[in-house]
């Protein structure tokens, strides 16, 4: 797959959206995912600002757990990562996990979930998230997957507007409680 180059007015800030591939070209390892960690941390910070009620883990505690989840998802056929890159610098990434059809809702044979879409704080609002989503949607269409889910954190209004502009509709609320808060 060819990288898609974006040419903003300022050519010095040119960046591309491309697949993020493992070193051996086949199977992702924990080390392969290392470069994504700073972007993951920035998304965690964004979540903390959006919704302080959730008792979130620290960066050090969260990344190894998230990385393990990623490796599990990426082992599924059809899952992938896209990155936005300027030279060696990663500006954002998007991870899609595909899975078998839901038992309750009538969706296709396989369905997709956008598990993460993260863009560096200083690079938000310049179209990186949209370019990552455009490419992810294109790849999913090619794969024949028509049902796509994405979760946003409550209070992350910008993310909710982003997906609504792209034609997504609120579908399920995830409600949460700590038992001691009764």
């Amino acid at each position: 797959m060819a990288a898609r180059t974006h040419h903003p007015a300022d050519s010095a800030s040119e960046w591309t959206v491309e697949p993020f591939v493992p070193a051996d070209g086949v199977t992702f390892t924990a080390a392969d995912l290392g470069p994504l960690q700073p972007l993951w941390n920035s998304l965690m910070n964004r979540h903390r600002e959006a919704w302080e009620r959730v008792p979130m883990r620290s960066h050090e505690d969260s990344w190894p757990r998230r990385r393990a989840q990623y490796l599990k998802w990426l082992a599924e056929p059809g899952s992938f990562i896209l990155v936005a890159r300027r030279g060696n610098q990663l500006l954002g990434y998007l991870l899609v996990a595909t899975q078998e059809a839901d038992e309750t809702y009538m969706m296709g044979e396989r369905q997709a979930e956008i598990e993460t879409l993260a863009v560096l704080p200083g690079k938000r609002g310049v179209g990186i998230g949209s370019a990552l989503m455009d490419e992810a949607e294109r790849l999913l269409r090619v794969a024949g997957i028509r049902d796509v889910l994405v979760a946003t954190m409550h209070g992350n209004d910008a993310a909710q507007r982003f997906y609504e502009r792209r034609g997504f509709t609120p579908f399920v609320h995830i409600n949460y409680r700590r038992l001691e808060e009764k």
Partner: protein, 191 residues
């Protein structure tokens, strides 16, 4: 506990007892006017749900059934998982996957009694974090959980990029069958 209601854990071999209650829940969700994604027919979804529940029940999941005079009138299906990788800091977390109350038994406190029984069981096991997914269209259920102290923490969005979403296909199919909308037969020419 409401009069005449008893709540007990259901043994996996008795799982078929709840089949009509699963159907009641499906019918309830399918009838919501603002539903986004169509529901599978019972005949299609029950074998899938049943298999998934039986697998989970071999682990830490549990099923609570409410009976009134011996007749099942509701159930709660709860899955218990290890620590959340990202957000919640507890060592274990639970998800209430299904909560169903039979049509004739709604509004009588059966749901509340099941939720209290779930809380007691989770407390016994030392589980602190509980999550419940609710269809955005299921307004009564959303309010029910809010009253019990639950708050939204995530919103799941559904999309069908570049293709017609299921809800749209379903409306078209209904229009086609009913001869409505763009499937309406042309009326007399306007004068």
């Amino acid at each position: 506990m409401p009069d005449g209601i008893t709540i007990k854990k259901l043994a996996p071999e008795d799982i078929d007892v709840i089949a009509p209650l699963w159907k009641a829940l499906l019918d309830h969700i399918a009838a919501l006017p603002d539903a986004i994604v169509p529901i599978r027919p019972f005949e299609q979804s029950w074998p899938l749900e049943r298999a998934e529940m039986l697998t989970a029940l071999q682990g830490d999941a549990f099923l609570l059934v409410a009976r009134r005079d011996g007749t099942p009138v509701g159930y709660a299906y709860v899955v218990v998982e290890g620590p959340d990788p990202v957000w919640y800091t507890g060592d274990a977390r639970a998800e209430l996957v299904h909560l169903s109350v039979a049509d004739g038994a709604r509004g009588a406190g059966v749901g509340t009694a099941l939720m209290e029984a779930m809380d007691a069981e989770l407390e016994r096991r030392g589980v602190e974090d509980v999550e419940i997914g609710v269809d955005t269209a299921n307004h009564d259920a959303v309010r029910f959980y809010e009253r019990r102290g639950y708050r939204h923490d995530f919103h799941i969005f559904y999309g069908s990029p570049g293709m017609k979403p299921w809800a749209c296909l379903r409306r078209e199919e209904e229009d086609r069958r009913a001869g409505r909308g763009r499937f309406a037969s042309p009326g007399p020419p306007a004068r």
